[in-house]
């Protein structure tokens, strides 16, 4: 009996010890999402020597992800975006950019990809073909792994308050104030967009005869139409665009002064942009990819446009000595090895033969 109790006490002491170990990572959880915080501090504590003879562990998003779509389209293997058999086997599938960084941060031999806007210090972003991803390199096009953030709304009747509000949101997004907010949240815009943008007061003054301005009774001091306060605008679609759209909408709603419309954000994924508009639960939908044919085909009357651009960065563990990678090497790592040995299969599935390229499965192929 006594021995039993002793054993139990020992076990519970071990449990408490384990819980105490876990406290340190938890402390830093307010710096980012809790997932990545735990894993990142783990990787920093286990900063072991990098063994280049180890195999490469690849990390992918699932087939519905806009980030995955952008990544594989840009590395020249578009067909791999919706077909897992075309990818190098044995990869881990992660649920979000945050999960991607958490998992790569916990695996010294892992490689994945993430949106530049979401990137944190827990992982290391690689330059691609010698170009580091930044606002400048995305703008001038030298950084090739980039994608568009798009919006969609229904055809508008600008004499209606609700529709005029949607029009004013889009106009606000491209005003000087709106562009500052987009850039502040990691969105990248062309220099011309910056040069051509005007302050909001100027935008309203220039459009003083426009239907939407008159419908809302907009002035630089606020809006005179009291019906605005009864309206609700629903924002839906991509979670990647959510930080930008949320920041934009809170600044936008304050330009109406006392007559603020209600703003409602419900972001679930790029796929929801069109569907929520169609079923009436959304007013403005966002996508972190270009809208596909089945979407635009189903509602050709919807208005689409681009908000900004975003870069996708290949990411590795901070313990990894690698700094640069080429697009060819990314293909060698992420694509099914059969594509490099079976030309007929590659032609059938990718529409190209990847001549002279080979599969890369070990870090030693990239690191001297």
């Amino acid at each position: 009996m006594k021995r039993n109790i002793l054993a139990v006490l020992a076990v519970s002491a071990m449990t408490f010890g384990l819980a105490a170990c876990n406290e340190n990572p938890g402390d830093s959880s307010n710096t980012g999402s809790s997932n990545s915080a735990i894993a990142s501090s783990d990787s920093s504590s286990s900063n072991t020597d990098f063994d280049a003879t180890k195999g490469i562990n690849t990390y992918n998003r699932d087939t519905t992800s806009g980030t995955r779509d952008g990544f594989f389209t840009k590395i020249g293997a578009e067909d791999a975006k919706s077909n897992d058999t075309l990818l190098a086997s044995g990869f881990v599938t992660v649920t979000s950019n945050g999960d991607m960084m958490a998992k790569v941060a916990a695996d010294e031999y892992g490689i994945g990809y993430s949106s530049l806007a979401d990137l944190t210090d827990s992982v290391k972003a690689l330059s691609v073909n010698g170009v580091v991803a930044s606002n400048e390199t995305v703008k001038d096009g030298t950084y090739t792994l980039q994608r568009n953030f798009n919006y969609v709304h229904k055809a508008l009747d600008l004499t209606k308050v609700h529709d005029a509000l949607i029009e004013s949101y889009i106009s606000f997004a491209f005003s000087t104030e709106g562009i500052a907010i987009i850039e502040g949240d990691g969105g990248i815009l062309e220099d011309t967009a910056l040069q051509n943008s005007k302050p909001w007061a100027q935008v309203i003054a220039d459009a003083s005869n426009a239907t939407w301005v008159n419908t809302l009774g907009l002035t630089a001091a606020g809006a005179t139409n009291t019906a605005i306060a009864k309206e609700t605008i629903n924002f839906t679609g991509s979670t990647s665009v959510e930080p930008i759209s949320t920041a934009l909408s809170s600044a936008w709603s304050s330009v109406f002064g006392a007559n603020k419309p209600t703003v409602n954000h419900n972001h679930t994924g790029s796929g929801a942009a069109f569907t929520t508009l169609a079923d009436g639960t959304g007013d403005i939908g966002f996508a972190s990819r270009d809208f596909n044919e089945s979407e635009t085909g189903s509602h050709p009357e919807y208005v689409t446009g681009r908000i900004c651009r975003d870069a996708i960065c290949p990411i590795v563990n901070t313990a990894n000595p690698l700094h640069d990678i080429t697009v060819t090497e990314l293909r060698g790592i992420f694509i099914n090895a059969r594509a490099f040995t079976d030309a007929a299969w590659a032609e059938e599935n990718f529409g190209t033969t990847f001549e002279g390229e080979s599969a890369i499965t070990e870090w030693s192929a990239l690191i001297d």
Binding site: G66, D84, V92, V94, G110, G271
Partner: protein, 364 residues
């Protein structure tokens, strides 16, 4: 005087009758309301399975327009849905057969961990520990049951996966940063232990003290008594707990998804490799999937498989439990027609070991 008295009596009686009638009426209304609520509650299962069935069959019988090229249409092949070893083998080409294997394998491994742990915990709490300590442990175990699965997932990512990584390094295997089947299995075991232990405690508490005293009086040691008398008598109750634990392990998605690696292909048998289950495949990317496309509706097809797997295992385990109970008491239990058919099938398959109890069933 008399007339007025009888008048009063009449009024009183009328009043009583009216009151009784009103009571009966209220009673009937309440009964009706309760019936409606109960019927609604019981029929939700029909709505859910019906909805899943209809939606899940669609990918096999209707043509879907491709999300990438509106001139391309396609449908899912029924045979490849079971034979293909990749879940997303293209837009119209999914394979779920290996997911069934993975799901059953993960559940089996988690049971190997959770069954002994929960039985011994229950035994310790009821039979060995001093009462106050037992009570503390019991509430600890019961509190564990209330922890949401996402918390288990976070714990798995932050503590269990790094631990598995060290373990894999120690045996010279390169794991994906500890993200592995084994991490998922440990999480599943942790999640099913509370249910199984609670049921075990109830079952062990229900053992007749006279049995225990008799065993001790005959000279058996407490350990012998615990294992050969207490556990044996409590086995059908413990087994009922195992059934509930299996249900939890089969159906868990969120926590498992966070640590198992969500492998695209399979099946996986090495516990240090990444894996995926039916639930994780259904959950993966559901937020970004476009409704009414193949990639969305095929998840309902996988859900049908999951429901079938859970039903089949549940029915089989219940049949085994009934069998155990019949064997133990020598009396057949009241059973449903379905479970009788299944245990009959069971006997047809394994005739030797269960001959005696089959006879008992027939006698009953």
């Amino acid at each position: 005087m008399n007339t007025s008295e009888s008048a009063i009596a009449q009024t009183l009686e009328r009043d009583l009758v009216r009151r009784a009638e009103r009571k009966r009426k209220t009673d009937r209304v309440v009964k009706g309301v309760f019936f409606c609520i109960a019927a609604l509650c019981a029929s939700i299962i029909l709505f859910i399975t019906g909805f899943i069935l209809v939606k899940g069959i669609l990918p096999f019988v209707t043509d879907y327009v491709s999300s990438h090229d509106s001139s391309v249409t396609g449908r899912q092949n029924f045979i490849t849905f079971f034979t293909l070893t990749t879940w997303n083998g293209g837009e119209f080409n999914h394979g779920a057969g290996f997911l069934i294997v993975n799901t059953l394998y993960a559940t089996l491994l988690s049971l190997i961990l959770s069954i002994p742990i929960s039985i011994f915990t229950a035994l310790f709490i009821v039979r060995i520990a001093p009462k106050p300590l037992g009570a503390v442990f019991q509430s600890g175990v019961e509190l564990l049951a209330g922890i949401p699965s996402v918390i288990f997932g976070l714990f798995g990512m932050g503590v269990i996966s790094p631990f598995i990584k060290i373990l894999a390094d120690a045996v010279g295997y390169q794991s994906a940063g500890g993200t592995s089947l084994l991490s998922g299995v440990i999480i599943l075991a942790m999640m099913s232990i509370p249910t199984m232990t609670s049921m075990g405690i109830t079952a062990i508490k229900a053992v007749d003290p006279a049995l225990i005293k008799a065993s001790l009086a005959l000279g058996a040691s407490p350990a012998q008594t615990n294992f050969k008398v207490v556990l044996k008598d409590a086995q059908s109750g413990i087994f009922a707990g195992i059934i509930l634990g299996v249900g939890r392990a089969l159906g868990e998605a969120t926590a498992v998804q966070m640590v198992i690696g969500n492998a695209a292909s399979g099946p996986t048998f090495n516990p240090l490799d990444i894996s995926s289950t039916l639930t994780t495949a259904i959950l993966m990317g559901i937020g970004e999937a476009t409704p009414n496309t193949m990639g969305y509706d095929i998840r309902f097809s996988a859900a049908i498989l999951l429901i079938i797997v859970i039903f089949a295992i549940d029915i089989a385990l219940n049949a085994i439990k009934d069998e155990m109970y019949a064997k133990q008491t020598g009396q057949p239990r009241k059973r449903s027609w379905l479970s009788k058919q299944i245990s009959a099938g069971f006997h047809a398959l394994f005739p030797k070991g269960h001959k005696r109890s089959l006879k008992e069933v027939d006698n009953g």
